[in-house]
């Protein structure tokens, strides 16, 4: 009998009221039951990505809501400047892993909670790691990382004859903050708008024309960009790449941009501004993190329990001047590079004899494709491989020998996917090879 079933334990009574009684806002298929609380506490596995400002809030919120199987992943170490808002960390923790310290803090403070830390990059794990989770919550500050995890969860989707198997969907709850602004969203990969569908929402980094920063700087940012983009690679003071987390590097950039600012009579250059421009830092506000994390944690709870219909699907929050909040449905893009790639199944009778040129011939001649110059790539053992591309001479020469190889000889297996780019379609198309003989028969 779990902690949730103990009648003497009143700790979870407030959740019981929600999970053991029906209500007007419940999901239509919600069946009130004591088992739901048990699922949260024993079965449901959540991954929190990022143990920074949002991550600390998320871990605290989820743990106090009853989730016990929580994993947290973060590659960063704790810095002095984190301590004002990343409240799971103390001065003595500076230099230690965020994930490890955060996990240890929660486990000590909240009885029964088991947070497992991962002190590494999200890219260090493969699909077998991500597949174990029911829901993934992100408190990230990078678009690259968001797109990576988005792509990972989309790659876990399973399509049978073009129809999505809903049990392969792992929802993403994504939070983001910038100063007094924030957003929270729910993504059901393959079903609703994904990160790539709404890439326009993330403004590109501010960049200044190279010639302006080189010749006619007017802003302190121009001076910093100049030192970063032109002077650092030229003088390379320590013979290594610029590291925005190294105080010595930032110090050097500060000193050199100061010289430049003086030369052009530009004022307002500070050490903090240098840090901001080099690392693209936007000041973090603790209260915004708290609001956004609370919204995200609530969405995780709704998804895990079905006690309420999840947010549909994008909420913006702004308290720069008063409070403004608004929720709307971000739309799934038909031609999204990440999530609209429903593989097109191609049956192959005899893969040991079927050659790459036969496949290309099929793409060019069959009425349903009618391609012109298809370029074919694939991924074999995690590595990209160009199978054939006729339009680029240097690639054509190096890949033409593949044309007379069979699919099996090229390392393609049953269910392997081949990416096809061609003028005739607006984005790269994915083919899934379906071998009509089993792998065993082929040996």
């Amino acid at each position: 009998m779990g902690d949730s079933q103990d009648p003497l334990n009143k700790r979870w009574d407030h959740l019981r009221k929600i999970l053991e009684r029906p209500g007007p806002f419940c999901h239509p298929e919600f069946e009130p039951s004591p088992e739901i609380l048990d699922f949260i506490m024993t079965g449901c596995k959540i991954l929190v990505i990022g143990a920074g400002g949002l991550g600390c809030e998320l871990l605290k919120d989820l743990a106090l809501m009853g989730f016990k199987q929580i994993h947290v992943i973060d590659m960063d170490i704790i810095e002095l400047s984190n301590l004002n808002r990343q409240f799971l960390f103390r001065h003595k923790d500076i230099g230690s892993s965020k994930a490890e310290v955060a996990a240890a803090f929660i486990n000590k403070r909240i009885a029964g909670c088991q947070v497992t830390p991962h002190f590494c990059k999200i890219q260090d794990y493969d699909e077998s790691f991500y597949r174990q989770f029911h829901i993934i919550v992100c408190g990230l500050d990078s678009i690259v990382a968001r797109r990576w995890i988005n792509g990972m969860l989309i790659s876990l989707l399973n399509y049978e004859d073009g129809v999505l198997d809903q049990s392969s969907v792992i929802p993403i709850v994504d939070g983001g903050t910038e100063g007094f602004k924030g957003n929270a969203r729910v993504i059901l990969p393959g079903l609703s708008a994904c990160i790539d569908c709404t890439l326009d929402l993330y403004p590109p980094q501010i960049t200044y024309p190279l010639c302006t920063i080189a010749n006619t700087p007017r802003l302190p940012e121009h001076c910093i960009e100049y030192v970063k983009v032109i002077q650092w690679p030229k003088e390379n003071p320590w013979g290594i790449q610029l590291d925005g987390d190294d105080p010595q590097h930032i110090g050097w950039i500060y000193e050199k941009s100061m010289e430049r600012a003086l030369q052009f009579n530009i004022t307002g250059l500070t050490y903090r501004l240098v840090q901001g421009v080099v690392k693209h830092i936007i000041p973090a506000v603790a209260s915004t993190n708290a609001v956004i994390a609370a919204v995200c944690a609530t969405e995780v709870f709704k998804l895990a329990t079905s006690c309420c219909i999840p947010m549909n699907n994008y909420m913006v929050f702004n308290d720069v001047d008063g409070i403004y909040t608004y929720t709307y449905e971000a739309e799934k893009k038909d031609n999204c590079l990440a999530c609209s790639q429903v593989p097109y199944t191609i049956p192959i009778k005899d893969p040991a004899k079927y050659k790459l040129k036969d496949l290309i011939e099929l793409l060019c001649e069959s009425a349903s494709f009618q391609m012109k110059n298809p370029g074919l790539t694939t991924v074999i053992d995690g590595k990209n491989k160009t199978l054939y591309m006729s339009t680029i001479k240097s690639i054509e020469e190096k890949t033409k020998e593949n044309l007379s190889k069979s699919l099996v000889d090229l390392g393609l297996r049953d269910n392997s996917e081949v990416m096809v780019a061609d003028l005739t379609s607006p984005s790269t198309m994915v083919l899934k090879l379906k071998y009509l003989v089993s792998d065993v028969e082929m040996e």
Partner: protein
């Protein structure tokens, strides 16, 4: 409206559900660059070189202008496409030393679509045309090499001589240029 988990089908937990043929998929950047590369439509003065045909994210572009100040020259650019392509532009450097108002000694190139005016709808092809144009119409108003820009503005004849001298290999204004005639 789907209901994601029914308590009866508590999937996961260690036993990874055997999804048929789950292979690592290419990133969105990879899918997009494959399309960009497959559909490159190069002007006859340009050529690409892929040292590793499996790596479409890093390659070289060679421009041999057939008119303008830089005809008879051969200029090599390196392209590095990052994981955030096409949200961010590729990193492009000129590997050939060139006496040019918009290219500096470190190979930095001042072309608006490589920085502030980049948009995800642009392609590798747009950059190729942009670079080619820089050789046909060097722009003295947005200089990276200010001396070259001043010469171009004040004395086109001298500018032409300097370009020739640099391309043949030699000193221009105290800077040595390697020979880069085709």
């Amino acid at each position: 409206m789907i209901k994601l988990f029914s308590l009866k089908q508590q999937k996961k937990d260690g036993e990874a559900s055997p999804r048929s043929g789950n292979q690592k998929k290419p990133s969105a950047a990879q899918l997009r660059i494959a399309k960009d590369i497959n559909e490159l439509n190069l002007p006859k003065t340009c050529n690409t070189e892929f040292p590793d045909p499996d790596d479409l994210l890093s390659f070289k572009l060679i421009i041999c202008p057939d008119e303008g100040f830089y005809r008879t020259g051969r200029f090599v650019f390196s392209f590095k496409v990052g994981p955030n392509y096409p949200h961010e532009p590729p990193k492009v450097k000129c590997e050939t030393q060139v006496y040019h108002p918009n290219i500096d000694q470190q190979g930095n190139v001042c072309l608006n679509i490589l920085r502030e005016d980049w948009k995800p709808v642009l392609t590798i092809n747009s950059i190729v045309y942009g670079l080619q144009y820089l050789f046909l119409e060097p722009n003295a108003e947005d200089p990276l090499n200010k001396e070259a820009a001043d010469v171009l503005t004040n004395n086109r004849r001298l500018f032409e001589q300097n370009v020739q001298k640099a391309m043949r290999g030699g000193f221009v204004g105290g800077i040595y240029f390697d020979r880069c005639l085709k």
